[in-house]
């Protein structure tokens, strides 16, 4: 049976995370890479436990479900950090025109 390639799993997960966070990857990268590396290592460990007969196939499925949920939670955080970055950019843009718009209107709109 071929051995699980941690590096390959890790690269695929990083690519998936990057596609979620295209424009804000640089900010999220350290956190994302660290957590996804942990998950890739765990998947390898589960494979080894199964191969060594230390867990059954049914147990392995539960182990994998836990890893999948954990990975989804990490990806959801990455998505949230991206939304926050966009939100910050919009609010910064509004801040820049705040004085001009409020002065032009004669009352506080922004």
């Amino acid at each position: 049976m071929p051995e699980i390639n941690t590096e390959e799993i890790f690269e695929k997960m990083v690519t998936a995370a990057q596609s979620v966070l295209t424009n804000h990857w640089e900010e999220a990268q350290p956190f994302a890479e660290n957590e996804l590396k942990v998950l890739a290592n765990n998947i390898k460990l589960i494979g080894e436990l199964k191969l060594q007969g230390k867990i059954t196939e049914e147990q392995a499925k539960h182990y994998l479900e836990i890893q999948k949920s954990s990975a989804r939670i990490v990806l959801l955080t990455i998505e949230g950090l991206g939304i926050l970055a966009v939100e910050g950019a919009i609010n910064a843009a509004l801040d820049v025109v705040k004085a001009t718009v409020n002065t032009a209107l004669g009352w506080k709109l922004i």
Binding site: F31, E35, V38, L39, N41, N42, L45, I46, L49, K54, I55, T56, E58, Q59, H62, Y63, E65, I66, Q67, S69, S70, R72, I73, V74, L76, T77, E79, G80, L81, I83, L84, V86, E87, G88, I90, N91, L94, V97, V101, K108, L109, I110
Partner: protein, 156 residues
């Protein structure tokens, strides 16, 4: 000024005003994601401590009768109640889809952990992938909460 240019400038001004008005009358910022919720943050941190305690106790007792599921039923009951509280809380907060989905995934994780514990853990080697998956999940959820907290500056 040419008529087409005047129309173009007016269009840009109207567009900007519509953007501003779309965030509500006299609002100070645009919100695309939920605001920081201290109760969610606190509950998640409490649950993280309970899960950490569970793994510490399990590591100490594994291989003995004390590690049996029956001795950990209270933990699972309490964790389910905590997650239900978190789920209700997350649903009540506006623009909170991400946290709602995170809580749902945590519920899945706990349910799978309970299934595994019912089957029984034979050795300490079985615990590290579980422990670190929960650590990653809690780190991610708390990290998002911390980022939402910093985002509050746009409200001022």
């Amino acid at each position: 000024m040419k008529l087409s240019k005047v129309v173009s400038v007016q269009g840009k001004i109207i567009g900007l005003l519509l953007l501003v008005l779309s965030c509500g009358y006299a609002c100070t910022s645009v919100r695309l994601i939920s605001e920081y919720d201290p109760i969610t943050d606190e509950k998640v941190t409490e649950l993280e401590e309970k899960v950490a305690t569970y793994f510490v106790q399990l590591e100490r007792t594994i291989g003995t009768d004390e590690a049996a599921y029956e001795h950990y039923q209270t933990f699972f009951d309490e964790a389910k109640v905590d997650l239900n509280t978190l789920s209700v809380r997350a649903a009540a907060v506006d623009k909170n889809r991400i946290v709602q989905e995170q809580v749902k995934e945590l519920q899945n994780m706990l349910s799978n952990l309970e299934a595994l514990h019912k089957m029984g853990f034979a050795s300490a080697e079985q615990l590290p992938p579980l422990k670190s998956a929960f650590n990653s999940a809690f780190t991610a959820i708390i990290r998002l909460q911390m980022a939402l907290k910093r985002g509050e500056k746009y409200e001022n």
